[in-house]
């Protein structure tokens, strides 16, 4: 198992009370598999992803990434863990305006204290893998929405993560391009053996998933017999 969420409860302050965003959620995602998470708005999908990404600490429960339990880790340790083990594809355009497509990926080496120049080769390979080898020198404003999202995906894979977290990657794309992006994520999940969690609104995307988890009011329901 590469991503394990065990008995996670997450609450947010809500006036006098607390709002339960995640209610005793348990989810195991093995490497090389894609788990789609669906559910109505406000049900807790993004919260689930944020917990898995170590960006919020749950009230109770444990998060285990590639065998490492995050409970009690310092903020600095969590940052290191994110850098080395977790790839995130954001819903929002999240590319840096001043960087070319290749540099968006090389940044990952830079923030890891390695030479960006030395990471150029890997960046080009990954851009090739998402079909953008010819666009390596373009800045975000010179790319289409779908191309940007593919750069986003390539960047998430740059440090060879164990866990790949994807939050509604197609919300800025039309149907056709959205489907292409989802296909790409599914392919890369298998080829690069990531434990992938894909949050989506679009039921059309679910065919590529190994299984589908439904969230309602903070409770996660897996199909009987799965994971």
């Amino acid at each position: 198992m590469s991503l394990q969420l065990t008995d996670i409860t997450l609450t947010y302050p809500d006036g006098e009370d607390r709002l339960t965003a995640l209610d005793r959620v348990t989810l195991d995602v093995p490497r090389g598999s894609l788990t789609a998470v669906v559910g109505p708005s406000g049900s807790g999908k993004s919260s689930l992803l944020a917990v898995a990404a170590t960006l919020v600490t749950p009230d109770t429960g444990t998060v285990t990434i590639d065998g490492t339990t995050t409970t009690g880790m310092t903020r600095g340790d969590l940052t290191d863990l994110r850098r080395h083990k977790i790839g995130i594809v954001f819903q929002q355009p999240s590319l840096l305006a001043s960087l070319t497509a290749a540099e968006q990926l090389q940044v990952m080496a830079h923030i890891d204290g390695r030479s960006p120049a030395g990471a150029r080769g890997r960046a080009m390979d990954l851009l090739d893998a998402v079909g953008l080898a010819d666009h390596a020198h373009r800045r975000p404003h010179q790319l289409s929405g779908g191309q940007r999202q593919r750069v986003n995906i390539a960047r998430a894979l740059m440090n060879d993560p164990t866990v790949l977290l994807v939050d509604e990657p197609t919300s800025a794309l039309d149907q056709e391009r959205g489907a292409a992006v989802i296909d790409l994520i599914a392919r890369l999940t298998r080829r690069r053996a990531t434990a992938t969690v894909l949050v989506t609104h679009d039921r059309a995307h679910l065919t590529v998933a190994d299984r589908i988890a439904e969230v309602h009011d903070g409770r996660l329901r897996l199909p009987a017999g799965a994971g």
Partner: protein, 365 residues
């Protein structure tokens, strides 16, 4: 600096604007520094050039400040000082402003009266009751050379030598005998009659053994260090004070402008910072990059501004404009601008610390 460099190039316009502001402020600071030093030198170089460590003034009345303009010391006072243990030199120095003329030319000068042979004046052993030593600016103003004759407040004198660039209260200095000086000085009230010998202050060389407060008490004087005595030059305190205030304000303004610029810049980059943090960039790493960027901009702008100030200074230094061009007047303000600017930028980019990487995730937040 991977992202920071590219941001600098990508947002050229914004950074060029900010860089220009830094260049102009440093230029202003550099020119003001050179001018302050130049004006200061014109004001006090005759005093700072004296080979003594202390100056004794006639003790001023209650509530009055020491002043080169008001002090009058008597022969009794400087004899008393000369006899004080630990005092290796006590010489009278008379100071007054008057007019000197040579043929058709005239100039306002400061007359520094010393005992003939005194070591207070350059070439002091050539000073007599008929011959004076002129500073170079005084000789230039009057068009005089050694051996020429001139008139100082009605007294005919010859030029014994032309030495040094002493000036006092913005007028060039003429070193003359104490008796010549006394005839040029307006009579003071309490000089004990026309026969008494007086001067303005007593120039002292002391050793650590000298009990200065006791000697002041006995002689009725008030003694300060040579440097502290500069504030007794009326024009110097106000002039230097206002120039330094302007310079200080410019430093503060540049730090604030830089702080404001980087505050706005950091806020604009908020979502980039959140993304980088979510991707695993440490806060320390992001702070270093942001501060490095600020220092590059600051150093570039400051060096350019300082170079322009130095070039302008070199052009005007030869002319009538009092401008002192030394590493101290050029590089020190540049260094202060960079340091204060970096402090401003550091306070601004500090907000990187509080950016929550969670904001990078999801559309709801």
């Amino acid at each position: 600096m991977f992202v920071a460099w590219r941001d600098l190039k990508f947002a050229k316009g914004r950074f060029a604007l900010m860089g220009t502001v830094i260049v102009l402020i440093t230029l202003l600071v550099g020119l003001l520094s050179g001018l302050t030093a130049g004006l200061g030198r014109q004001n006090v170089s005759a005093i700072t050039g004296l080979p003594v460590d202390r100056i004794a003034f006639d003790a001023p009345g209650d509530g009055q400040q020491l002043s080169y303009g008001d002090s009058t010391v008597t022969e009794e006072q400087w004899r008393r000082w000369a006899g004080t243990p630990g005092v290796t030199g006590a010489e009278p120095l008379g100071i007054t402003m008057t007019r000197a003329t040579a043929g058709a030319r005239g100039a306002g000068v400061s007359v520094f009266g010393v005992e003939p042979g005194s070591r207070l004046a350059p070439d002091g052993d050539r000073i007599t009751e008929r011959a004076a030593v002129l500073s170079v600016p005084a000789a230039d103003a009057l068009g005089l050379g050694p051996g020429d004759a001139f008139t100082l407040a009605g007294q005919r004198l010859t030029v014994a030598a032309v030495q040094g660039d002493a000036s006092f209260s913005h007028t060039p200095v003429i070193w003359a005998g104490l008796d010549v000086w006394r005839k040029t000085a307006p009579p003071t009230g309490d000089d004990g009659g026309p026969a008494a010998r007086t001067a303005t202050v007593i120039a002292l060389n002391t050793t650590s053994g000298a009990d200065v407060p006791a000697a002041d008490q006995a002689a009725g004087t008030e003694t300060v260090s040579r440097t502290d005595s500069l504030s007794a030059i009326g024009s110097y305190t106000s002039e230097n004070g206002s120039l330094q205030l302007m310079r200080g304000l410019l430093f503060v303004i540049s730090a604030l402008v830089i702080g404001a610029f980087f505050t706005v810049w950091t806020v604009q980059r908020g979502s980039d910072i959140a993304v980088l943090k979510a991707l695993g960039a440490s806060t320390g790493h992001l702070l270093r990059d942001a501060l490095g960027q600020a220092v590059v901009l600051l150093t570039g702008g400051t060096l350019l501004g300082t170079a322009v100030a130095a070039a302008l200074g070199a052009v005007v230094a030869g002319s009538a404009v009092p401008f002192v061009l030394t590493p101290g007047t050029v590089l020190v303000p540049a260094a202060v601008t960079i340091v204060l600017g970096a402090v401003g930028a550091a306070l601004a980019v500090r907000r990187i610390t509080s950016v929550d990487p969670l904001t990078a995730l999801g559309s709801a937040r």
